[in-house]
Each structure stands twice: as structure tokens, then as C-alpha cells.
Symmetry: C2
């Protein structure tokens, strides 16, 4: 761990010169004994390890005494929850700059003294500057420094390498470290945050941005206390190293999650969207996490918006599994150019499939040339390859090395079992080739390289669309809300707000061109709606009447609006048919202003098919949102329907986001529906919710 | 391989007394040499292995000569494609009863002689009764008999065990065998079918139904040649052993797939539905396949319709990953009874979560009791557990053994790395406990046990709804189609078919109760539609007019219908509002009659959110279809809307399926929409497509 860099605030924790175990024990079943066993390796490489126990005269009586024999940067507290605060204060007094508290009995426990014990830890950390990891965690490990601050046996077998793990939970930290080790990957630092009384994920992520031993970061998120701080830390880190994030909470795990962390779970979807926007690669489960971070630790693709993948396989069947998996992830596998196909035809037997995927037939010495030809294809940014381990037919390590193209990463699944296979996978990784075992692993690793390339290609977009400060009204009726949309440059239909029935009839003549008999002689139909800022759901109470083509029908509609309580009316030209969307901006309790889009209608709503981003955001960023919708095919000219210009939608979404960001008194704005027509996007209804100036919360 | 059973038709292939390698070679790079190396283990256990090469006088000159020295049941052909047919005939003449043809150059190759070479192989197999595996496959392995008929090195390291692999592709067969071995599972038989010139998946599945060494089957499907035969074989096999199926082709992999197998890919969705209906457990990728078949090889849950899972975890964070994964798969994790919670409270520290999931806090000797208490809960059919490997804290193998409840399988994820962990996982499996390493693996294994239990619970349903033979018309207009629905007992709205305008006005008076002025005085609106069996898409040409409440409006509608070419009119009462569904039955080119349901509307259509089953089918089976729709929440009283009675829909779907099964001249019937209202399900439109008697194809 020879490093030349400015010491960081967590160096005392993760790179201590000396460690004191307070509450060390000779009873092997005690935590203090388990910690002493685990940390034994630290002394073997010359670290100062002091056992402290005032009731055991074979040990140091106090941290102060331990410090006299060598520097103690880190105190590992193996004492009951109630005793931790006093020991922590003593440690800080003795010059110790970091502490690990593994035990439970703090804020994760409902009722009792737990929350108070944790509050006191936090208070002492704030007051003295000592940094505290935990409580309620199984600890951390730095294999490169032989530093295993964990009571879980076997942890010292985790090999050193370039992957850092930052897990909300100590158990998940260990599960991930073990899974990475089993898959052949090494660890630079693996941390379980536990209750996060002092050290939280952003602290560790900031530390890793300066850690020369870390080449990629695996982030496990359960709950988010401070959204903007987490996102800022992820953004800083992704500018330097790839980050892969696994967010728990797809389904409703609230009750158990709260019992575990003492915090309420925030929105899974919003947390994922925020992390992706900050440049992290998202995965669905811990297996994908291993594949993704394992690949990104050794290689990255060029920053391009839609990377193409070249698939090369020595066996057709596994290649088909790989292709199916990649396409199921909406990853492009473009047909190779004629030039590339000509090159391949010269290398391969004539009868294999060579357009992409490239089936090499029986593996042989042509493999290196095939990889080189595919890597040189202008449409290929990543190569995903699979081969059974057949060293007699081809030396895949040599072929993969020889076949490399600068800037085009190779993911190679090497199928087989036994030590020779493991050794070859290790050799591939050492050469900067992402090695795994099965087609699903190749697909997950390739997807991570693609997602990382996409994230970096948008990371350089222009700045967030600036929001305009407006004079915020106490309340908005539909007419006022649409006036604000007009101000933002969002199209609406011609309309009039009418205080009387006669004004409504005049509006009908002006907007509908009606002549009163409802016959089909070129009358343009109008809508008549109840106009009242206090009524949010007009349709449900009979406050919306559509397709009015005669004064008679208008009168009937006005009768019903009056019956529904209307005193004012909105008369509006009807929009052409199209596909209805919902777009809006609101304030997330954890992340602050967010924007979202979805398809209109109950099916889309029942499926919760929406895309989310933090606001403010750039038009480029917002323009990428429709491609995330499951029902996006509807926006691409479905059955002759209109085709969405993503940028036009992006401008609307970005302006709504900017509006919320610039105007703390606006709580929410929703356009529902925003109709996609052959003439563009038109807002058909809009709701704006505000708060009184005195009630404004900090804009976060 | 001591077996007492009737010899099966594939015993010569998979349990030969002697093997001849035809085209054996002393050149180590040749296929004939690789095969001889692989099959060396067979001689070591006393099998007769004969090397045949007429041009090498150290070998047998012919199969006949080889047979003279001992029985030869299996010939492994290592000769060029063009030479295979003659050798196969020679083998059959010599009394050989099975052959393996690994080489390519047959029907998988477009153009050239390949298809003809394969046709001749098939012809000789049919004529002589010799069974042929391949061509174009890397072979098969029977580890328990030390029989490695594969040229892929390392295959002989795959351990013997209870799992059979039946893969469409030789490469996938090896990839799966290696992945199972890496995960600690053993193999009874692993077969790659290749081109399937003679031996196909149903043959091998039939063989496995009688194989006492096989406890679970992994089936990999690329294309299906004979749907009914495959499904019959799967059904027979699942009655005896669990089958887990992985179907390729979620995305459009057609071009590459066709090049690989020489066959067109059939519908992924229909193939999956058919396999599930036959009792197979479906998985999404090869990793889930390993977890699923690994679990089902050692344990099965009780056959119940909606199994409940008890989650037990020694570490909260991984338990949360597990819970999230299970709930994301719509698996029930019910709250434990008060009695169970009382028992747990007596075993565990007071402050852990114990309602389900059960968090044991620090693992300790209570683990066995906790598993027993959870297993005894009446709502628990499977236990999914996770713990880091901490032998100092608890012996999990002993605890899991002691904590077993009869009939309640346990899946245990044992996190850690190293030989001690591997040994403990092996010990768990030997005790009938499904062992894996990570929460994702526990979830996949648990999901497989749950799916298998569900499949067996519906397997005993009543017989398929009998179809009624009807007199099939050459063509059906909407009125005739609805008459047939009436005959099937499917609700429609009151209607009249009208040949004249005056008849239409009379119908309006009768159905709408209209008085002619269109004012809102209790008139029930009617629909007027073009009535013509030749017009399938009425709406697009202006053939449908809704909400008619006056004779004047009816005249306008009739004018437009005439303009659209109508000579006859359907006047129909309008249905109440509700949620629109699409239900239908059609003929799949591979599987024969199928039924499908989906939600109405373009969003559902764009998402292809449909459920499919083979027909004929029981009402019970059909009643399970709505629960597969992503948008199923819409059918469960969404925002005060109507609630679907699944059985009512099941009866309709089963009757449509029976109709197609019993009437070969009906090609397709679709009800679109079938509206779910507060008064039940009502068919609003229906289309029936027929074929002329002379054109009828076999009903498949």
C-alpha cells in the first residue's frame, strides 16, 4: 500500500498505523477474541495491534496505555452498547482518530435505549472529530494491508484486488466480498456501514475517489438519508472510477427494512434513477453486481451513446443464449460491415454464421484474427465472446491477447471446470480482459460496460436547463396553469376562461366556429370544463365535457358544470387525436425536485411504467427518458400514429424540472395528458400545487 | 449403474456394453483421437472399447471385426459427413443399435449436400432401427458409468449425481454440465441433441422417465419440431420427476438460430406456456436453471396452489436482498401465526424481526429450533434461509438437519469461500437440503420449488373442457359470430341484424327505447355497425358508430355505414363501462390450438402483455391465466372498477379452446373487446375465421 497522496479523512479508519481492540477477551466465543483473531494478520505485516481490557492484566489497561507503545489510529470497540460512548470519548482523548463499533443494540432496535446510545456516539464524533464506522456492522477489510476488521471467519481469505465494496449492511458486505472472491476477483476495501451513525456511504465514496488501489466500486444501497450528498459523492467518484449500484426495495420490504436499519426506505425507482444520472451502472441482483464490477475493474468502453456489441462464439448454442440475453437488455448487436464479413470469410470455414454473432465453428487458431476483425468493425464498441475451454484446440488467453483492439473491451466467457480454467480466467483479467464463466455472466458484464459507456457519453451534456423564477400564485386553476405552460413555451390549445354563460357561447363561436345546429358542416368541437383552482379531479365530478359542436350541446354541458358547482368555465378547442402521456415534476422527500414521464391511461398506470430523473436536468438528459418506458413502441409511430421527437419532450420535461428547482413555492406540476399528435406535443390539462411562503421547506 | 428395469429404446446409446469408435486416429488433433481419449475411462471400468480404422493396422478394420471381440452397442462416428450414412448402415448390419455423430456439415449448413447427408442418416435409422444421436453435437456423458462420449476436454471431471441435462445444443449441454459441476451438483446423463436427425428431446425425456439415477431434469429448448410429442413427453416425465426448462428466443434471434439448427424458431411465449402447462418449471437464464434443478434434485414441496415461504436469515442485509427478490417474483411471504411468533420469541433475543422474515440476530444454537418453528407454521410450505458460514457460532449443517420439518423443504444459502464451505454445502445436499451460496441463488431455488408445487397442484385438475362440434359456416359476420358465442354461453348485448334502414330504426326503438329527439330522457344509447363477414376491421373504415340516442343520429350513422359499403346493419344495445380484455383461440403452427388473453388497448398491445395456454384445457387451468398478466391489478377493482371472477373468464377461455379443438374448420376466434363490467363479462365484438373443408390441415 505505498501511496503518495494527501491523507484523507478516513485514512485513520482504513489505513491505520495501529489498532486497539477495546474489550479484547481470552474467551474465544467473545467478540473481542474473534476480532483479535481476525486482526492477527495485521501484526504479521508489522502493524501495531494493542489488546485493551482493564480487567485482564495480560492486556493494556486503557487506550492511553496502548498508545504509549505505538501509534493507535483506530479503536475497535468490543463492549456493550451502553459503554460505547464513554470508550469513544476516551479514545478521542487519547488521540485515536477512528473507531469501529460492530455491536448491535443501537438505533436499529425499536424502543429502549438504543437510539439514545447511538445519538451519544454521533455527538462525540461531531464534537471530537473521531470518525465512527457502525454501529451494528460486521466491519470492514483491506486485504492488501492484511487488515481484517471483521468477526466473520474466512474473511482473511478474500484476495487483494481492485474492487471496493461499499455496502449498507455488514452481512451484504461479506456476502459480496465472498461472492467476488469465488468469482476470482480481488478486493481493495470492503465496508459494511451498519447504522451509519457517523461514517456514511458518501464519506467512503469520497475516500475511494482518492484511493489508487481501487479500480471499480460496488455500492449496495438500502436507504438514503441525504439524497443530494449521496448523489454528489457518486458523481465525483464516477468521474474517476466506475461505480456499480445495487438498490434494495423493488418490492415492498418496508417493515423488515425499517427494523433492520432504523430508517424508512425511500423510493426504489427514484434512488436508482438518481444514481444512474450520477453515472452509476445499475444492476438487478448481487450476481449481476459481481459480473458488472468485475468487468469494469479491468476495462471500460469508449463513451458513446449507443454502443454496439460484437458477439463471437466458438459454440453456436451458448452464443444463442448470449445473443438472446443481450437483446433482451435492449443492447445493440449490429450487423457487421461487408468489409469485416470479408475479413471473417478469409479466416473461417465458409458455412458458419458471420454477420454478428460470429460463429467460429470449431475453435482454432483463427480466434485471434476473428476477434481483431470484429474489434475493428466501426459498429462494434464491445466484444462479448464465449468459448468452452479447449486448450488443445486453441490457447484462448493468447488469442484474446493477440486479438485485442485498442479501446474495444473484450468480455470472454470461458466455460469449463477445474484449476486450469480458473488460471486462464485469472490470466485474462490480468491482461485487461473481463473473464467470466457462462453466457449469462458475459451478458451481465457486457451490459455493464455498455451502461457505463452510455452514462459517460451523456455525462458531458450541457448544463441543467435553467429554471425561471416566476411569481407563484397561492393556487392555480386550469387556465392559470396553462398560462404558465405558455410562459414556459409548452403548447396548449386555444382557450377562453369565461365567467358567464354568454361568454362561454361567444368562446364557442370563436374557438369552434359553431353555427348552432350541431350538424357536420366544419364545426370544430370544443371542450367545456369546470374552472376552479380548488377542484383537482374535474372528470370524476362531471366537470369535463368534450366534443361539443352546438350551442344546444354547450348549454347542456354548462348545465351539468353548474350542477357540479362551476361558477367559471374553460372553453377550449379540442386537440387532434394522438397518444397521451403524463409528464410532471414534484419534490421527493429524499432527493428534492424530480421529473417523471409515463404513458397515459390506466394500463400504463397499473404497470407503473414511468421514467424518473432528478431536476434540474439538461434537455439531453431528459430526452433520454422515453427510451426507458416499456411501452415506448407506442411513441414510435405505432400503427401510423405520430412519432415522438425525444428532444421536444426533453425540452418540456427539463423546463418543468427547472421550474420546480427555481421556485421553492411550487410543490408539484403535472401535465396530464400531454398529447403526442402529428402536430407535436400539446398539453391538454395541467395541475399546479403550491405552498404558502411561510411553509416553504429547504429546496433539497 | 445396477438397474432392474425393462430395457428402454435408448439403452444402447446411454448404457452400451461396448463402443466402437469408427474413424479412430493416432493423430492427437483429430476428432477420432479426442474421442478415444475421452472414452478411455469407459475401458477402465471394464467396458469394451474398440478403435476402428480400415487404414490403420493397429486398429480393427471394421465394425464387424470389432464386434467379434465383444458386444458393440454404440458406434461413435468420427468420419466426414459424406461417409456417415454408409458407416451407419454397416454398423446396423453388424448389430450395433445406436450411433453418435458429432461432426457438422449436415442440415445446419445452408446449401450444398448437408441436408441430403442428414436425410440419408434419418432414412437408415428409420429402416434399420439403429438410433442416431446428432449430427452436429459435442456428444453426451454418463459420469456414473465413466462414459464420456464428448470431445470437449475436462468433461470427465463432471461428477456423478442425480441431474440429467437434455440440451438442444452440444455447446449448451457442456456449458450446463460444467456450471452444475462448479455449483457442486452431479450429473446422471447430459446430452446435446445437435441436429436431432433421429433422437430428439422427447426420446431422451421418455428414457429419463425410467432412469432410476435421475432425480431432476434440466431441459434446454431452442426450436420445437413436434409440439404435441414434446409436450406429451414432458407431461409423462413431470408425473415422475421435476423438469426445469430454459427456452431460448425471448428476443428475435431467428436468423442466427436458423443457421445453427436448420429449423425455424417457434414462439418463445407459446413454447414456455406449453411446457409450464405440462408441469415444467420455467427459468429465465442458465444460472437460474442451475439453482432450480439443483434444488429440485434433492427436495420438492407439497403440491399446493399458492405456497407460502418462510424466510430465515442470520444477517438482516442479505435477508432483505432475499425478501426483495422473492417478492419481486410474486412469491408469498406470509406473516407467521401468533403461535409461531411466540415460539420464536422464546428462542431469539427480544429485539430482532420475527414476523417473517425471521432475523435470528447473531447466529447461534437456536437456529435449529427457529427452522423447526417456522417449518411448523401452517402458512409455510418452503423455508428460504441465508447465513454466512460461521462454524464457530453455529454448525449450520447440524442445525439444518435438526430443524427439518417433514414436507417443508429448506433452501439454505451458505455465504463464504473455501473448502469448508463447499463441504458443508455438499453435506446439506446429501441431507436433502437445497444448498447454494448467495441470496439470489436462494431466491431462484425457492422460486423453482414454489413453481413446481403450483404446477403439481393444478396438474390434478379436471379434464379439459370438452369442445362442441358445430356446423361451421364458410364465413361469419359479427351477428353470426355472436350467435355462436350465445351458443357457447358467453354473454353478448341485445342486438338485431337489419337488412333495411327501417328495420334499423325499429331495432333502435326496441333496444334503445328511443323517442327520436336525442334528449336525455332515459334513452339507452345503441351502436350501429356495418354487418359483413368480408370486413374484418370495421372501425378503420368508419363501420362502427357508438352512443346513438336519436333517430336523427341513427340516420347520420346509417349514411356513413352506407358510404363505407354496408348493405346490412347490426344495431346493438351499448354495454356499461368497464375494463376491456381481448380473448381468443387460434392454431399455432407447432403446438396446434392455443388460447390467449390480454388487456385491451394499445398500451397492453405494445407491451405484448398476454397469457397463453394450449387447448383444449380445463376451466381451472384457464382460470389461472389472468394472474400472469402484468396489468392484472386493473382486473382487481382498480379505482372502484369491476372485479374479475377468474373462473368466469376461465369458462369463456376454455370454451373457445374447446371450440377450436373440436372443429378443425375454425381457424381462429377472437373476442375483442370482452368487457369486464360490474355485471360480469360481455363480448362486444367477435371475429371467427374459417377454412374450407378441403383445406383443413391436421389438427395440431
Amino acid at each position: 500500500m505505498t501511496q503518495i497522496r494527501t491523507p484523507g479523512p478516513l485514512d485513520a479508519l482504513f489505513a491505520p498505523r495501529g489498532i486497539a481492540i477495546v474489550g479484547a477477551s481470552r474467551n474465544p466465543a467473545k467478540l473481542g477474541a474473534a476480532m483479535a483473531r481476525s486482526l492477527g494478520g495485521f501484526t504479521a505485516v508489522g502493524g501495531h495491534l494493542a489488546l485493551v481490557n482493564g480487567r485482564d492484566d495480560t492486556m493494556y489497561p486503557s487506550i492511553g496505555a496502548a498508545s504509549a507503545d505505538g501509534p493507535v489510529d483506530l479503536a475497535v470497540l468490543c463492549v456493550p452498547a451502553a459503554a460505547c460512548a464513554a470508550i469513544l470519548a476516551e479514545a478521542a482523548d487519547a488521540g485515536v482518530r477512528a473507531a469501529l463499533v460492530c455491536g448491535g443494540g443501537f438505533a436499529e432496535v425499536a424502543g429502549g435505549q438504543g437510539a439514545e446510545h447511538q445519538r451519544r456516539l454521533t455527538e462525540i464524533a461531531r464534537a471530537t472529530g473521531i470518525r465512527v464506522l457502525g454501529p451494528n456492522t460486521s466491519g470492514f477489510l483491506v486485504p492488501g494491508a492484511h487488515l481484517t476488521a471483521s468477526f466473520v471467519p474466512g474473511t482473511s481469505r478474500v484476495p487483494s484486488g481492485g474492487i471496493a465494496v461499499v455496502a449498507a449492511s455488514g452481512g451484504v458486505n461479506h456476502a459480496l466480498a465472498f461472492a467476488l472472491a469465488e468469482a476470482g476477483h480481488g478486493i481493495s476495501l470492503a465496508v459494511g456501514l451498519g447504522n451509519g451513525a457517523d461514517v456514511t456511504a458518501p464519506d467512503v465514496l469520497d475516500h475511494l475517489a482518492d484511493d489508487p488501489d481501487t479500480t471499480a466500486v460496488a455500492l449496495h444501497v438500502e436507504t438514503v438519508a441525504d439524497g443530494p450528498r449521496l448523489i454528489a459523492a457518486v458523481r465525483r467518484l464516477t468521474a474517476r472510477r466506475p461505480v456499480v449500484a445495487l438498490v434494495v426495495g423493488r418490492s415492498d420490504v418496508g417493515a423488515f427494512a425499517a427494523s433492520h436499519t432504523g430508517a424508512l426506505a425511500t423510493s426504489w425507482r427514484t434512488t436508482r434513477a438518481a444514481l444512474a444520472q450520477a453515472g452509476a451502472v445499475l444492476v438487478g441482483d448481487e450476481r449481476e453486481l459481481v459480473d458488472a464490477v468485475g468487468a469494469l475493474a479491468v476495462t471500460r468502453a469508449r463513451a458513446v451513446a449507443d454502443p454496439g456489441v460484437g458477439v463471437v462464439t466458438a459454440q453456436a448454442g451458448p452464443g444463442l443464449l448470449l445473443l438472446d440475453n443481450l437483446q433482451g437488455r435492449s443492447i445493440a448487436v449490429p450487423e457487421l460491415t461487408g468489409h469485416t464479413q470479408d475479413e471473417l470469410a478469409a479466416l473461417l470455414p465458409p458455412l458458419t454464421y458471420q454477420r454478428n454473432p460470429v460463429d467460429t465453428g470449431r475453435p482454432g487458431p483463427a480466434m485471434g484474427g476473428v476477434l481483431r476483425a470484429v474489434g475493428a468493425d466501426p459498429g462494434v464498441d464491445v466484444i462479448a465472446a464465449y468459448a468452452l475451454h479447449e486448450p488443445g484446440a486453441v490457447d484462448l488467453v493468447a488469442a484474446a491477447r493477440a486479438g485485442r483492439t485498442d479501446g474495444v473491451p473484450l468480455v470472454l466467457g470461458l466455460g469449463g471446470t477445474g484449476d486450469a480454467v480458473t488460471r486462464d480466467r485469472d490470466a485474462l483479467r490480468a491482461a485487461g480482459i473481463a473473464a467470466t464463466g457462462d453466457p449469462a455472466g458475459v451478458a451481465a458484464a457486457t451490459a455493464a460496460l455498455v451502461a457505463d459507456a452510455r452514462a459517460r457519453s451523456t455525462g458531458g451534456d450541457g448544463p441543467a436547463a435553467p429554471g425561471t423564477a416566476v411569481e407563484v400564485a397561492d393556487a392555480y386553476d386550469e387556465g392559470q396553469a396553462k398560462d404558465l405552460l405558455d410562459h414556459l413555451g409548452i403548447a396548449t390549445m386555444p382557450r377562453r376562461c369565461c365567467a358567464t354563460r354568454s361568454a362561454a357561447h361567444e368562446a364557442f363561436d370563436a374557438l369552434g366556429g359553431g353555427d348552432g345546429d350541431g350538424a357536420d358542416r366544419g364545426v370544430r368541437p370544443v371542450a367545456a370544463k369546470l374552472l376552479d383552482a380548488a377542484v383537482l379531479h374535474k372528470t370524476e365530478i362531471g366537470g369535463v365535457h368534450l366534443g361539443i359542436t352546438s350551442h344546444q350541446a354547450l348549454d347542456a354541458a354548462l348545465d351539468r358544470l353548474e350542477a357540479a358547482g362551476a361558477r367559471r368555465y374553460l372553453i377550449e378547442a379540442m386537440a387532434p387525436p394522438g397518444i397521451d402521456l403524463i409528464v410532471g415534476a414534484r419534490r421527493d422527500p429524499v432527493f428534492g425536485p424530480v421529473v417523471l414521464i409515463g404513458l397515459g391511461g390506466t394500463v400504463a398506470e397499473a404497470l407503473a411504467d414511468v421514467a424518473v430523473r432528478l431536476a434540474p436536468l439538461s434537455v439531453d438528459e431528459a430526452s433520454g427518458m422515453p427510451s426507458e418506458l416499456s411501452g415506448r413502441a407506442l411513441l414510435a409511430g405505432w400503427r401510423g400514429g405520430p412519432v415522438l421527437a425525444p428532444r421536444a419532450l426533453g425540452e418540456i420535461v427539463a423546463s418543468l424540472g427547472g421550474l420546480l428547482a427555481a421556485n421553492p413555492l411550487i410543490d408539484e406540476i403535472e401535465i396530464n395528458p400531454l398529447r403526442l399528435t402529428h402536430s407535436g406535443l400539446i398539453a391538454l390539462d395541467a395541475v399546479i400545487l403550491t405552498r404558502k411562503a411561510g411553509d416553504a421547506h429547504p429546496d433539497r
